[in-house]
């Protein structure tokens, strides 16, 4: 187990489950989507991650303190999500810990939810969702024609580090990225990514309440977005707007 991250298991993780991951990132898409999923599927907390590298904050809900990075499940799907923007120096340790946890529990696939910044977001009614799989056969298994593929480019931030760890260990995982605002919370993009996830995993998730509460969420998540943007700057997130090498 990684020395910098402490993973505390309160209950056993279900075996052979899909592991969904959501960290604050572009448009807070991943964290809006995963927190909605946790609520909708009435998941219970089965563990958490802690580190001296994390900022000294402790969120509380209904008068009870919670660890900011939690592991939850409904028995079929496991979700790891973070309520705080974790510092870049903890990315490696987090990625290693998550992948070790996945291996230990024979996770079927690791699915990262997030956003991809597009300049014309204001003109887009329903954001498209892109997929970046670690293995070719994942696309054949999923068979979801509405998903677009990311042919060339860079992935930056915590998901880039997790994907590297997945590839190193020859595991299965993919990133689902919805077209999103870069620095504004984007519940519309979160709804799109959740719809794609629901289709892939055959879940019954109605994203209508998320869209109805879109403006409230944007206002409430303003401060977390601001902190996340500061972290994204140091995570070299602008790399995602850079074309990669032509010859590889």
């Amino acid at each position: 187990m990684n020395q910098e991250i402490e993973l505390i298991e309160l209950e056993e993780c279900p075996k052979n489950a899909n592991l969904v991951i959501g960290f604050p990132d572009v448009g807070l898409v991943g964290i809006i989507a995963t927190s909605f999923l946790v609520k909708k599927l009435e998941m219970k907390t089965i563990g958490y991650m802690d580190s001296s590298l994390f900022p000294p904050v402790l969120p509380f809900h209904n008068n009870r303190p919670h660890f900011p990075v939690r592991i939850t499940t409904d028995g079929n799907i496991v979700v790891i999500f973070s309520e705080i923007a974790v510092p870049v120096k903890s990315y490696g340790a987090i990625a290693e810990t998550i992948v070790e946890y996945a291996v230990k529990n024979d996770v079927r696939s690791m699915i990262m939810l997030g956003g991809i910044a597009v300049q014309n977001r204001l003109e887009i009614e329903k954001p498209s969702v892109y997929i970046l799989p670690t293995k070719k056969e994942i696309l054949e298994e999923i068979k979801l024609p509405t998903l677009k593929s990311l042919d060339e480019g860079f992935l930056a931030g915590i998901y880039a580090v997790i994907v590297k760890e997945i590839i190193k260990r020859d595991l299965k995982g993919y990133v689902l990225l919805a077209e999103s605002h870069l620095g504004y919370p984007d519940p519309g993009a979160a709804a799109s990514v959740l719809e794609a996830l629901s289709n892939i995993l055959n879940l019954d998730i109605d994203t209508k309440p998320l869209l109805e509460q879109e403006e409230e969420l944007r206002l409430h998540l303003k401060d977390l977005m601001k902190r996340t943007v500061e972290t994204l700057r140091s995570a070299q997130k602008t790399y995602e707007q850079t074309p990669p090498l032509l010859y590889r």
Binding site: P59, P209, E215, E216, L219, K222
Partner: protein, 142 residues
């Protein structure tokens, strides 16, 4: 010895100033929160041709609720929040706060054409384009 006391005096002065700054910040925050004023998220992108400002204004219903003014070299935004936000979806981020209106001031550089500022309000985001005076021109190659 005198040098030592000088250092101590300087450190004490710095601590006093820092405490004063923190107190001022806290006071400002308290006043703002009491009045229900909220600073919106915004981004400023500068290019040689124009300055593009985008401001996220959720819960502002109509463009008529937005007041955008240029005054003494500053762009001043005020926008009324249509209703008190209530989250039906139980959300881990929910905190009960009172929001009444947005306010934000953007200092403007000297090289902008104030008469040609354009703004549009789409899906709760205000986009302001401010052209610059000095525009690039094509150089003929002999």
């Amino acid at each position: 010895m005198e040098e030592f006391f000088d250092i101590v005096r300087r450190i004490r002065e710095e601590i006093r100033r820092t405490i004063e700054e923190i107190e001022e910040d806290m006071e400002r925050l308290l006043i703002r929160s009491k009045e229900g004023v909220v600073e919106p998220l915004s981004y400023v992108y500068e290019s040689p041709r124009e300055i593009l400002i985008t401001i996220d204004l959720p819960l502002v219903k109509r463009k008529e609720d937005i007041n955008l003014e240029v005054k003494e070299g500053k762009l001043i935004l005020e926008a009324g929040i249509s209703r008190s936000p209530v989250l039906n979806v139980e959300n881990p981020f929910y905190r009960r706060r009172s929001y009444k209106y947005y306010r934000k001031i953007f200092p403007l550089p000297d090289d902008v054409v104030l008469e040609e500022i354009r703004a549009r309000f789409v899906r709760g985001v205000l986009e302001i384009r401010i052209p610059r005076k000095t525009r690039g021109f094509r150089v003929a190659i002999e």
